[in-house]
Protein backbone atom coordinates (compact mmCIF):
# COMPACT_ATOMS: atom_id res chain seq x y z
CA UNK A 1 0.00 0.00 0.00
CA UNK A 2 1.38 3.39 -0.94
CA UNK A 3 1.71 5.95 1.84
CA UNK A 4 -0.57 8.93 1.22
CA UNK A 5 0.91 12.24 2.30
CA UNK A 6 -1.37 15.29 2.25
CA UNK A 7 0.03 18.73 1.43
CA UNK A 8 -2.19 21.65 2.43
CA UNK A 9 -2.64 24.64 0.16
CA UNK A 10 -3.64 27.86 1.92
CA UNK A 11 -4.24 31.08 0.01
CA UNK A 12 -0.65 32.34 -0.25
CA UNK A 13 1.11 28.98 0.06
CA UNK A 14 4.16 28.85 -2.22
CA UNK A 15 5.94 25.59 -1.68
CA UNK A 16 3.01 23.17 -1.83
CA UNK A 17 4.04 22.08 -5.35
CA UNK A 18 7.63 21.37 -4.30
CA UNK A 19 6.42 19.52 -1.20
CA UNK A 20 4.16 17.28 -3.30
CA UNK A 21 7.05 16.61 -5.64
CA UNK A 22 9.33 15.71 -2.73
CA UNK A 23 6.70 13.28 -1.44
CA UNK A 24 6.56 11.64 -4.84
CA UNK A 25 10.34 11.35 -5.12
CA UNK A 26 10.33 9.65 -1.71
CA UNK A 27 8.04 6.97 -3.07
CA UNK A 28 4.79 8.13 -1.46
CA UNK A 29 1.60 9.43 -3.01
CA UNK A 30 1.08 13.19 -2.67
CA UNK A 31 -2.49 14.30 -1.96
CA UNK A 32 -3.44 17.95 -2.38
CA UNK A 33 -5.47 19.24 0.59
CA UNK A 34 -7.38 22.53 0.50
CA UNK A 35 -7.54 24.94 3.44
CA UNK A 36 -11.30 25.27 3.17
CA UNK A 37 -11.96 21.51 3.17
CA UNK A 38 -12.04 19.78 6.56
CA UNK A 39 -11.66 16.34 4.94
CA UNK A 40 -8.14 14.90 5.04
CA UNK A 41 -9.02 12.31 2.37
CA UNK A 42 -7.55 9.35 4.32
CA UNK A 43 -3.97 10.61 4.25
CA UNK A 44 -1.37 8.95 6.49
CA UNK A 45 0.59 12.14 7.15
CA UNK A 46 0.29 15.88 6.48
CA UNK A 47 2.72 18.59 5.39
CA UNK A 48 2.05 22.30 5.99
CA UNK A 49 4.18 23.97 3.33
CA UNK A 50 6.06 27.26 3.19
CA UNK A 51 4.74 30.51 1.83
CA UNK A 52 2.72 33.41 3.12
CA UNK A 53 -0.65 31.96 4.10
CA UNK A 54 -3.34 34.64 4.17
CA UNK A 55 -0.68 37.18 3.25
CA UNK A 56 0.96 36.80 6.69
CA UNK A 57 -1.75 39.20 7.88
CA UNK A 58 -2.10 39.68 11.64
CA UNK A 59 0.87 37.36 12.34
CA UNK A 60 2.48 34.65 10.22
CA UNK A 61 0.25 31.58 10.44
CA UNK A 62 -2.31 33.22 12.75
CA UNK A 63 -5.23 33.12 10.32
CA UNK A 64 -4.30 29.79 8.71
CA UNK A 65 -4.43 28.23 12.16
CA UNK A 66 -8.22 28.79 12.23
CA UNK A 67 -8.91 27.44 8.72
CA UNK A 68 -11.29 24.45 8.46
CA UNK A 69 -8.56 21.99 7.41
CA UNK A 70 -6.52 22.89 10.50
CA UNK A 71 -9.34 21.86 12.84
CA UNK A 72 -9.04 18.30 11.53
CA UNK A 73 -5.24 18.39 11.42
CA UNK A 74 -4.97 19.63 15.03
CA UNK A 75 -7.30 16.85 16.13
CA UNK A 76 -5.33 14.29 14.09
CA UNK A 77 -1.96 15.53 15.34
CA UNK A 78 -3.09 15.09 18.95
CA UNK A 79 -4.01 11.50 18.06
CA UNK A 80 -0.60 10.76 16.51
CA UNK A 81 -0.95 11.79 12.85
CA UNK A 82 2.52 12.72 11.54
CA UNK A 83 2.54 16.45 10.69
CA UNK A 84 5.49 18.38 9.27
CA UNK A 85 5.44 22.19 9.20
CA UNK A 86 8.01 23.83 6.96
CA UNK A 87 8.70 27.57 7.37
CA UNK A 88 5.20 29.11 7.25
CA UNK A 89 3.94 25.65 8.24
CA UNK A 90 6.15 25.80 11.36
CA UNK A 91 4.62 29.19 12.16
CA UNK A 92 1.14 27.67 11.76
CA UNK A 93 2.06 24.82 14.15
CA UNK A 94 3.28 27.30 16.79
CA UNK A 95 0.16 29.43 16.39
CA UNK A 96 -1.90 26.23 16.77
CA UNK A 97 -0.02 25.45 20.02
CA UNK A 98 0.87 22.03 18.63
CA UNK A 99 4.46 23.20 19.13
CA UNK A 100 5.64 25.62 21.84
CA UNK A 101 7.18 29.04 21.28
CA UNK A 102 6.83 31.43 18.36
CA UNK A 103 8.67 32.71 15.29
CA UNK A 104 9.56 36.39 15.26
CA UNK A 105 11.16 38.85 12.87
CA UNK A 106 14.78 37.98 12.01
CA UNK A 107 16.98 39.91 14.45
CA UNK A 108 18.79 41.69 11.60
CA UNK A 109 15.45 42.50 9.86
CA UNK A 110 16.60 41.15 6.49
CA UNK A 111 14.87 38.44 4.52
CA UNK A 112 17.40 35.64 4.26
CA UNK A 113 17.77 33.20 1.37
CA UNK A 114 20.70 30.81 1.38
CA UNK A 115 21.80 27.21 1.63
CA UNK A 116 21.95 26.46 5.34
CA UNK A 117 23.88 23.79 7.18
CA UNK A 118 21.97 22.07 9.97
CA UNK A 119 22.71 19.38 12.51
CA UNK A 120 20.07 16.70 13.04
CA UNK A 121 19.77 16.60 16.85
CA UNK A 122 17.04 13.98 17.08
CA UNK A 123 16.15 11.02 14.92
CA UNK A 124 13.34 10.01 17.28
CA UNK A 125 10.62 11.73 15.26
CA UNK A 126 8.33 10.60 12.46
CA UNK A 127 10.16 12.91 10.05
CA UNK A 128 13.83 12.34 10.88
CA UNK A 129 14.24 8.59 11.25
CA UNK A 130 16.09 8.26 7.96
CA UNK A 131 18.92 10.44 9.33
CA UNK A 132 21.77 9.55 11.67
CA UNK A 133 22.01 11.32 15.05
CA UNK A 134 24.27 14.33 14.66
CA UNK A 135 24.19 14.15 10.87
CA UNK A 136 24.96 17.44 9.14
CA UNK A 137 22.70 18.37 6.24
CA UNK A 138 22.38 21.34 3.89
CA UNK A 139 18.97 22.65 2.85
CA UNK A 140 17.77 26.06 1.65
CA UNK A 141 16.58 28.62 4.19
CA UNK A 142 14.40 31.56 3.11
CA UNK A 143 12.38 33.66 5.50
CA UNK A 144 11.90 37.03 7.11
CA UNK A 145 10.36 35.86 10.37
CA UNK A 146 12.40 32.83 11.41
CA UNK A 147 13.69 33.79 14.84
CA UNK A 148 12.61 31.04 17.21
CA UNK A 149 11.70 32.34 20.66
CA UNK A 150 10.28 30.75 23.79
CA UNK A 151 10.69 31.42 27.49
CA UNK A 152 13.74 29.95 29.23
CA UNK A 153 11.72 27.25 30.97
CA UNK A 154 10.29 26.02 27.65
CA UNK A 155 13.74 26.10 26.03
CA UNK A 156 15.19 24.09 28.93
CA UNK A 157 12.33 21.62 28.65
CA UNK A 158 12.87 21.20 24.90
CA UNK A 159 16.57 20.55 25.49
CA UNK A 160 16.00 18.15 28.40
CA UNK A 161 13.42 16.12 26.51
CA UNK A 162 15.51 15.92 23.33
CA UNK A 163 12.90 17.87 21.39
CA UNK A 164 15.30 20.20 19.60
CA UNK A 165 15.37 18.38 16.26
CA UNK A 166 17.60 20.70 14.20
CA UNK A 167 20.18 23.33 15.06
CA UNK A 168 21.74 25.91 12.78
CA UNK A 169 25.44 25.40 12.09
CA UNK A 170 27.91 28.17 11.24
CA UNK A 171 26.33 31.59 11.81
CA UNK A 172 22.88 31.77 13.41
CA UNK A 173 20.85 33.18 10.49
CA UNK A 174 18.02 34.90 12.37
CA UNK A 175 18.64 35.21 16.09
CA UNK A 176 16.86 31.97 16.99
CA UNK A 177 17.31 31.14 20.65
CA UNK A 178 19.96 28.47 21.21
CA UNK A 179 20.42 28.14 17.41
CA UNK A 180 17.15 26.20 17.19
CA UNK A 181 16.04 25.52 13.61
CA UNK A 182 13.36 22.92 14.34
CA UNK A 183 11.54 21.21 17.20
CA UNK A 184 9.07 18.41 17.87
CA UNK A 185 6.18 17.69 20.23
CA UNK A 186 6.67 15.18 23.08
CA UNK A 187 5.25 12.34 20.94
CA UNK A 188 7.57 13.04 18.00
CA UNK A 189 4.81 13.01 15.38
CA UNK A 190 4.67 16.80 14.93
CA UNK A 191 7.83 18.49 13.64
CA UNK A 192 8.34 22.10 12.59
CA UNK A 193 11.40 23.76 11.10
CA UNK A 194 12.21 26.97 9.26
CA UNK A 195 14.55 25.60 6.54
CA UNK A 196 13.10 23.96 3.43
CA UNK A 197 13.93 20.26 2.93
CA UNK A 198 11.51 20.07 -0.02
CA UNK A 199 13.91 22.27 -2.01
CA UNK A 200 16.77 19.81 -1.51
CA UNK A 201 15.49 16.60 -3.07
CA UNK A 202 17.17 16.71 -6.49
CA UNK A 203 20.71 17.78 -7.31
CA UNK A 204 19.53 19.59 -10.43
CA UNK A 205 17.43 22.12 -8.53
CA UNK A 206 18.85 22.21 -5.01
CA UNK A 207 22.10 22.17 -3.04
CA UNK A 208 21.85 18.36 -2.87
CA UNK A 209 19.40 15.70 -1.79
CA UNK A 210 19.74 16.01 1.99
CA UNK A 211 16.08 16.97 2.28
CA UNK A 212 14.81 13.67 0.94
CA UNK A 213 15.27 11.97 4.32
CA UNK A 214 12.30 13.88 5.80
CA UNK A 215 9.96 12.36 3.29
CA UNK A 216 11.39 8.84 3.27
CA UNK A 217 11.27 8.88 7.11
CA UNK A 218 7.51 9.28 7.18
CA UNK A 219 7.00 6.55 4.58
CA UNK A 220 8.79 4.15 6.94
CA UNK A 221 6.85 5.30 10.00
CA UNK A 222 3.48 4.92 8.34
CA UNK A 223 4.50 1.55 6.90
CA UNK A 224 5.23 0.36 10.44
CA UNK A 225 1.95 1.70 11.77
CA UNK A 226 0.09 -0.16 9.04
CA UNK A 227 2.01 -3.39 9.66
CA UNK A 228 1.26 -3.26 13.40
Amino acid sequence: MTTRVGVVTFPGSLDDGDARRAVKLAGAEPVALWHGDKDLHQVDAVILPGGFSYGDYLRCGAIARFSPVMETIIEGARAGLPVLGICNGFQVLCESHLLPGALTRNDHLHFICRDQRLRVESTATAWTRAFADGQEITVPLKNGEGGYVADERTLDELEAEGRVVFRYLDANPNGSRRDIAGITNPQGNVVGLMPHPEHAVESLTGPGTDGLGFFTSVVGVVGELVAR
Partner: protein, 83 residues
Protein backbone atom coordinates in the same frame (compact mmCIF):
# COMPACT_ATOMS: atom_id res chain seq x y z
CA UNK B 1 2.76 44.59 22.47
CA UNK B 2 5.69 42.19 22.42
CA UNK B 3 6.48 41.06 25.96
CA UNK B 4 9.40 42.94 27.51
CA UNK B 5 11.70 39.90 27.32
CA UNK B 6 11.09 39.39 23.58
CA UNK B 7 13.60 41.10 21.31
CA UNK B 8 11.98 43.76 19.12
CA UNK B 9 14.33 44.32 16.16
CA UNK B 10 11.83 46.64 14.47
CA UNK B 11 11.67 48.89 17.51
CA UNK B 12 15.47 48.88 17.66
CA UNK B 13 15.71 49.90 14.00
CA UNK B 14 13.32 52.79 14.65
CA UNK B 15 15.33 53.86 17.69
CA UNK B 16 18.56 53.85 15.67
CA UNK B 17 16.95 55.96 12.96
CA UNK B 18 15.77 58.71 15.33
CA UNK B 19 19.14 60.38 16.06
CA UNK B 20 19.86 60.49 12.32
CA UNK B 21 16.75 62.65 11.99
CA UNK B 22 17.82 64.90 14.84
CA UNK B 23 15.53 63.34 17.47
CA UNK B 24 17.84 62.67 20.41
CA UNK B 25 17.19 61.34 23.88
CA UNK B 26 15.08 58.28 23.08
CA UNK B 27 16.45 55.42 25.19
CA UNK B 28 14.26 52.63 23.83
CA UNK B 29 11.52 52.00 21.26
CA UNK B 30 9.07 49.08 21.30
CA UNK B 31 6.67 48.65 18.40
CA UNK B 32 3.21 47.13 18.76
CA UNK B 33 -0.19 46.82 17.12
CA UNK B 34 -3.49 48.56 17.75
CA UNK B 35 -6.86 47.21 16.69
CA UNK B 36 -9.95 49.43 16.69
CA UNK B 37 -13.11 47.38 17.03
CA UNK B 38 -16.52 48.92 16.61
CA UNK B 39 -19.21 46.83 18.28
CA UNK B 40 -22.65 46.49 16.76
CA UNK B 41 -24.40 46.00 20.08
CA UNK B 42 -24.44 48.13 23.22
CA UNK B 43 -21.31 47.81 25.32
CA UNK B 44 -21.57 45.87 28.56
CA UNK B 45 -19.20 43.77 30.66
CA UNK B 46 -20.09 40.62 28.68
CA UNK B 47 -19.23 42.36 25.41
CA UNK B 48 -15.89 43.52 26.80
CA UNK B 49 -15.18 39.98 27.97
CA UNK B 50 -15.87 38.75 24.42
CA UNK B 51 -13.35 41.26 23.12
CA UNK B 52 -10.78 40.05 25.67
CA UNK B 53 -11.46 36.51 24.46
CA UNK B 54 -10.88 37.67 20.86
CA UNK B 55 -7.59 39.23 21.89
CA UNK B 56 -6.50 36.15 23.80
CA UNK B 57 -7.30 33.59 21.12
CA UNK B 58 -6.69 35.49 17.90
CA UNK B 59 -5.62 39.14 17.87
CA UNK B 60 -2.61 38.56 20.13
CA UNK B 61 -0.23 35.63 20.42
CA UNK B 62 0.07 35.43 24.19
CA UNK B 63 3.22 33.34 23.88
CA UNK B 64 5.12 36.47 22.87
CA UNK B 65 2.65 39.36 23.24
CA UNK B 66 0.69 41.13 26.00
CA UNK B 67 -2.52 43.00 25.30
CA UNK B 68 -4.78 45.53 26.96
CA UNK B 69 -8.41 46.25 26.09
CA UNK B 70 -9.52 49.86 26.39
CA UNK B 71 -12.99 51.30 25.82
CA UNK B 72 -13.09 54.55 23.93
CA UNK B 73 -16.00 56.69 22.84
CA UNK B 74 -16.34 56.77 19.07
CA UNK B 75 -15.30 60.13 17.70
CA UNK B 76 -17.60 61.22 14.91
CA UNK B 77 -15.88 63.70 12.69
CA UNK B 78 -17.49 65.21 9.65
CA UNK B 79 -15.35 64.70 6.53
CA UNK B 80 -14.68 68.44 6.12
CA UNK B 81 -13.32 68.59 9.66
CA UNK B 82 -10.76 65.83 9.16
CA UNK B 83 -7.98 68.20 8.22
Amino acid sequence: MLKPEILDPQGQAVQRALPRLGFDGVADVRQGKRFELELADPLDEAAIERVREMARTFLANTVIEDFTVRVEEPVHVRPEERL
